[in-house]
Subunit: 264 residues, 4 copies
């Protein structure tokens, strides 16, 4: 191939590719924003969040940005509430909308975990008792196998002494992320949890089934005696089937149902 | 009777009977399909299934076939979703609709149990704790007497080693059916249960009251001390009155109520 | 007074009194029937009954009769379902409507207890665990003080050996009423309870707060250690203020609320 | 400044200030009345009150008066039900509307606690078990940190011997207020709680999160072992951030949500 031809080709690519990819990127963003609003309402409807808690997603074409609602009860979030943040948790175009004081949970996770594209912080009611006792939150049900072998607990007092027990700056967020490590879930003592995942829908599913499993495990503890947990080996085999979003299966099946429930 | 007369009569019967019985068979099928869609919605509304779980019925005129929804959250199932399967769990006319990966629970039950005409698999929330502890699920209430003397627990690890803990082939289904034996209910460790019965409505009732009884028994265990269970002898006497579907009584009474509740 | 005058007066009274009192008696009956239908729906809405359970009221002008729905889920009862029964539990004008097989609970209470004008039988979910353990159901809350000092448990096996554990004849009903004695509530082992009272609205209130108290007591037992119960002396003082139905107070206040809730 | 000028100025102020401030006082009162009706419905919708319980607010311009509904189930309260009371619990303009027999809880709190502008009495279901056992109600969650270090329990028998266990006069109210001290919450044994606060919305939030925390603590106790409570030092730091009602944060965020939920 002659040099000229190559230059012309490169030039044409520079012209064509953006025009060809941008609409796709824009529709990716639009779909994600729709899902993000839905995720807020779903988590509320399923009882994972009440007036507090927040959910975010990494920007689909700018990995150094994430998207999250302005400070508002999740069940009331609409598209106009979504704000773009940089990885220091600064709003890009806040337009005087109030922002969550604990947005550093999200920014620090996105900084540290390249594999993560969605983050949920909640006061998921039945995980709180596990955060203040010595009983570890472990999976006893297939749908929450990702909790294997067990969920770590973040203690703010160890990281920052006596505080308001809120993750209101980067240092506290970083300390929390250290406790999280490469896991999908960590508890915050006397506060709630953080749930992360490779995509938004799967992360929503994880947050919901973390609560479901906590309820079931609490009951198993009440029954007494030894408990058979989901084995980490079983978890690997279960999770490998959950990675994809095939119509009618796993995450897709529950997402469609939760979407309908949230609309009622 | 003259031979001719007999031949003519036989000929007429061959002509008439199908024309006379087919509408009946068709209306039986139509009624069963209506009930099957309703059963999906009822089990969802009563909290026995969430996004997962499935319910099937043996084909009314072809005992080597069963009917079950395509892979979908039960609460969203409509008539168009019902697929016919053979007893190896192959869809007869799937038309590219996704199928439940655990359909082998159903096919293996229908193969082994001639007395069974309906099968439900669920993650019935309060039975799960009983599946991972040493406390047997036993009946303490009249409405769940069929659980007497106690419910067996299927352990996939014993049958197939470390797996994804799902009944995704015939061999696993067969192993589960061995644990079930001739009983109406078996638990699947860390997963849920399988409930079977002589007809669809009664099986739905069994699935619901298995969950109700699990909740009550959990509370009785929490109160502490010895528990008085429903005696197997009492169960026989209770079940004999439940066999028929008399208007206003037993299964008919609750079915009408659940139907109304599911419609809301 | 002259004899003639007296005769004329008596004659006039015979003519006038019925014409004057009958509309009142009829409007009493009409009001009671309205309340009875409402009671069915209220008990369903409050979770005291599900598809099973029944509520009756003594006939306002014929104390040897009581009124109760035909066999139907209480939440679906309408005015046309109400049937009049004699005190042997025979329907007076059943018109082929199915009748509850356990109507003898009601007839035997009305026979034995002149102070009782309403009877409820239910599978009130949280009283069942108390019926199969050794932990007596006792009041810990003002609103259920009438349970003081504690609720007796009827064991069908003692009264009638191995049965279907249902009160399906007069003898079983009589045995139950012996356990009840002069109390407002008795439990039926592995089955539910019977709640009685001086009028329908107060009996509905008792059935609801029996369930509420059972939930609270279960939680108190779970917390552990000694429990402070409502003292029988306190109960006397509490109940004396509950006898009347003053607008805005006690039974009237909750009845208006439950009525609204049932209508939704 | 000349004397005449000063007199004229004073005269003008006397004329102008009321005309200028009165509309403000009236709109303050109007806003508070709206909030008071909403508070009744919110507390009902959140399950803090059922047919019983009441909420009041100190009059915004007359600190010796408070506002509370006539005797009625809180969930049914409308603007026309609100009555003004003096600090001896006498209705100012009752117009024959029935009044709560336990209004002395409110009057005695307002008398003794100048810092309090709203009072809630409820049978908050999960606090009752803590009132009849030896397990103190303590905070394990950020949102209920104000319960630190622990909630006192009022025992009517100590204050007034055997009674109907109701705060139906000033003496009983005074005894309760002594138990309350300068805290935000006290339990009433076998009865419920009283919750107070600096303004109505924050007091509603306290009543709701007292119930939420009781549920979580009950579960933590059931899990067993030592429990990590919110430290009083943490509470101080948490509460200091809750004092203000900033749009989108803390009390404002949940109030908007509860308001929407109550309207459904």
């Amino acid at each position: 191939m002659g040099q000229l031809k190559a230059i012309v080709l490169a030039f044409l690519l520079v012209l064509i590719v953006p025009a060809w990819s941008q609409p796709s990127a824009q529709s990716d963003l639009k779909a994600l924003l729709d899902d993000l609003v839905a995720a807020n309402r779903i988590l509320y409807r399923q009882g994972v969040v009440d007036g507090f808690g927040h959910v975010s997603a990494r920007h689909p074409s700018r990995p150094d940005r994430f998207l999250m609602s302005a400070a508002k009860a999740p069940g009331r979030v609409i598209a106009e509430d979504i704000i773009e943040f940089d990885l220091d948790a600064n709003p890009i175009d806040g337009r005087d909308r109030p922002v969550y004081s604990e947005r550093f949970i999200h920014s620090e996770v996105y900084k540290a975990r390249r594999d993560v594209n969605a983050v949920i912080h909640s006061h998921s009611p039945t995980v709180v008792p596990f955060s203040v006792t010595q009983v570890p939150l472990r999976p006893i049900h297939n749908t929450a196998s990702f909790l294997a072998p067990e969920v770590p607990v973040f203690e703010m007092r160890k990281a920052a002494g006596m505080t308001n027990n809120l993750v209101t700056n980067g240092a506290r967020g970083k300390a929390l992320v250290e406790t999280l490590g490469d896991r999908p879930v960590a508890l915050l003592r006397g506060h709630g949890n953080v749930v992360v995942g490779p995509d938004l829908r799967r992360t929503v599913s994880r947050a919901i089934y973390t609560e479901v499993n906590a309820r079931m495990l609490l009951q198993a503890v009440m029954l007494g005696g030894p408990i058979t947990y989901i084995d980490p080996e079983e978890n690997k085999l279960i999770e490998s089937g959950r990675g994809t979003q095939i119509t009618g299966h796993s995450v897709d099946r529950t997402w469609q149902m939760w979407l309908e429930e949230a609309g009622r």
